[in-house]
Amino acid sequence: MERGWSPGGKIALIRNRWLLLVLRVIVGGVFVWAGALKIADPLGFAQSIKNYQIIPHTLAFLIAVVLPWIEVLSGAFLIIGVFKRSSALLISLLLIGFIGLVALALARGIDTSCGCFGSLSRRADFSLILIDAILLVFALSIFFARPPRPNH
């Protein structure tokens, strides 16, 4: 059984397993959905990555081929409870990357669609950073969660 990194329980945020399940379904569901839309249109996603004007052409293409699968698999594993902490870690790292990318685009005045939900994408703006930050809190809560105490 996977155990949380929680020396003295200080970092462990949530113990309630039902709440954790809800968080896993929310975060996992968003990632499965977002990944599936990108898998359906890899060229469109590659173009979205290029629109941020920071990632080189070939790398953008390779990311567009692989990253949607990381999203789908991490999301699905998070929901079904396989590799929970690994999935939560990967999703957290992705979200940190997305937040950084959008923040950088905003700072450089690049007005673009986020590319996060394929053709259903919204603009890369501050509210998107907020949504990603909320998902990041959820994902980190799952990552740092401790298994429930016996008889709890």
């Binding site: 293409f61 692989v66 949607p68 699968w69 594993f77 669609s113």
Partner: protein, 159 residues
Amino acid sequence: MKSLLRGVLVIIVLSVVLGAAVNLRLLRRFAAGEFREGFIDRREYAGIRFITLAETEDLFAQKTQGAGGLLFIDSRGRDDFAAGHIPGALSVPLEAARRSGTLDFPGAQTVVVYCEGGDCQTSISLAKIIHDKGFRDIRIFTGGWAEWSAAGLPEEKSP
């Protein structure tokens, strides 16, 4: 810790394998040099092609000599357009085109879309939108405004 990293590795390796397997044809086309100028599927967007500065100059010369049906479209923001653009170009900022339900260019048979140049991408996105509206002769001038103005070609400013 070990199981954590093992899980991460499994997910990444599975993703690489699945991504490569599902996109094998696309990877081959990329390796063969397709999508070098932009991630546009030429089968899906048959009416779009990329042009160089020389070809753009040629089209501009035809237009100034009175050739009809040619329209230059600037996909940059309004401020950039006002500061300088290809003479006779129409300003269609990408976001405005996305918001607008209709894009109508009366009399235009060939449209040349450009943005800032360098790594700018709005011309490609706009070209796709125009293609989706039914236009079938769209040229993307990838060098964009930067290359045009650096070459000392005619410019026009808006008040």
